[in-house]
């Protein structure tokens, strides 16, 4: 009787271990499978500009934002890294491209993968270029506050 009890307990323990291992394998494979898919599917630049409002005040600021958007359509990532832009008060060559974007654009939803390296990785891709073109078309139509 004691023997059968111990066999049943051992079987029970074995089943638990099997179940946990199987679950952990499924979870692990899901994470590894989804990670590359997520990073290749999401273009952070397209994601950012598709859900971002512009906040700026002056005609000078508007002109600098237009220059930056134009550069993103016409220059390589390597060239963009070297570009410098005027700051809020017009101080020349004060900001990098990502500095400018982060000062004037407010995303309406979080863009978790937004980093400088992911920005330059994605900026020249077609979906990013489409979103940049839409921002450029919008800003060209609007009047600054001052």
């Amino acid at each position: 009787m004691a023997f059968w009890r111990s066999v049943t307990a051992a079987n029970f323990l074995f089943l638990i271990v099997l179940t946990l291992t199987s679950h952990s394998c499924r979870t692990g494979s899901k994470q590894t499978a989804s990670a590359p898919s997520d990073s290749s599917a999401t273009n952070v630049v397209a994601e950012f500009f598709s859900h971002a409002d512009r906040q700026y005040e002056t005609a000078g600021q508007k002109a600098e934002i237009i220059r930056a958007l134009g550069d993103m359509l016409n220059k390589s990532a390597q060239q963009l890294r070297l570009q410098r832009y005027a700051d809020y008060q017009g101080g020349k060559d004060a900001w990098s491209l990502t500095d400018l974007i982060e000062r004037y654009f407010v995303p309406s939803q979080p863009v978790p993968d937004w980093t400088e390296s992911s920005f330059y990785r994605d900026v020249s891709k077609p979906e990013a270029q489409d979103a940049i073109r839409r921002q450029l078309a919008s800003i060209e139509k609007e009047s600054p506050a001052h």
């Binding site: 005040e57 008060q89 407010v106 609007e142 506050a145």
Partner: protein, 191 residues
């Protein structure tokens, strides 16, 4: 002992907007606020213009401070939590005016919200003078000011002289400017 809102395993050392935070969060918030003071000096208030980015990472919020300043003045907390400052106030122009009807210029009063037509900038009405003439007064407000004399705006804007106080990235802080001259009489008022 109260625990950190973001890290339940850690003790709370500070409370902001009814949420408890641990020492690492407090340090991260202060470091991000210092970055705001360095890189985005026009923003007021600065200490809450920060956002949590996961782990122990806190960063300055993106964008200018105009909507954030108005939201603090009027205690506005509309919009998604991800679009609010550490103290829970809105940071986007459309969120601040969300659900607020437009006000005719003749009815504008102090503390009405002003936003330009493109909704890229906003401020608060800080002074209204009806039937304003060439000797119209100017309220210096929190920062500098510019007089409304010589306005090229429409008859309505000239008849009602309006001063707008706003968190100005172009001027580097909170300033008061004339609606007709500085802002060219454009935009709408909301209450």
């Amino acid at each position: 002992m109260a625990k950190c809102f973001l890290h339940p395993g850690r003790d709370s050392v500070t409370t902001v907007a009814a949420k408890n935070y641990c020492q690492k969060c407090k340090d991260g918030q202060q470091a991000a606020a210092a970055e705001v003071a360095l890189k985005n000096k026009h923003v007021e208030p600065k200490s809450c213009f920060v956002t949590y980015r996961g782990g122990d990472s806190w960063l300055p919020l993106l964008g200018t401070g105009c909507a954030h300043w108005v939201a603090h003045q009027l205690d506005i907390s509309t919009g998604a939590a991800s679009n609010q400052c550490l103290e829970g106030h809105s940071i986007r122009v459309p969120d601040v005016i969300q659900g607020k009807p437009k006000i005719a210029i003749d009815d504008v009063a102090v503390n009405d919200i002003w936003a330009n037509d493109a909704l890229t900038h906003m401020g608060l009405v800080s002074k209204v003078q009806k039937n304003a003439g060439a000797d119209a007064g100017v309220d210096a407000g929190a920062g500098g000011s510019d007089a409304g004399a010589g306005s090229d705006a429409g008859v309505k804007a000239a008849a009602v002289q309006i001063q707008i106080t706003h968190d100005s990235s172009g001027q580097g802080g909170v300033f008061t400017n004339d609606f007709a001259t500085y802002f060219h009489g454009q935009g709408s008022f909301y209450r």
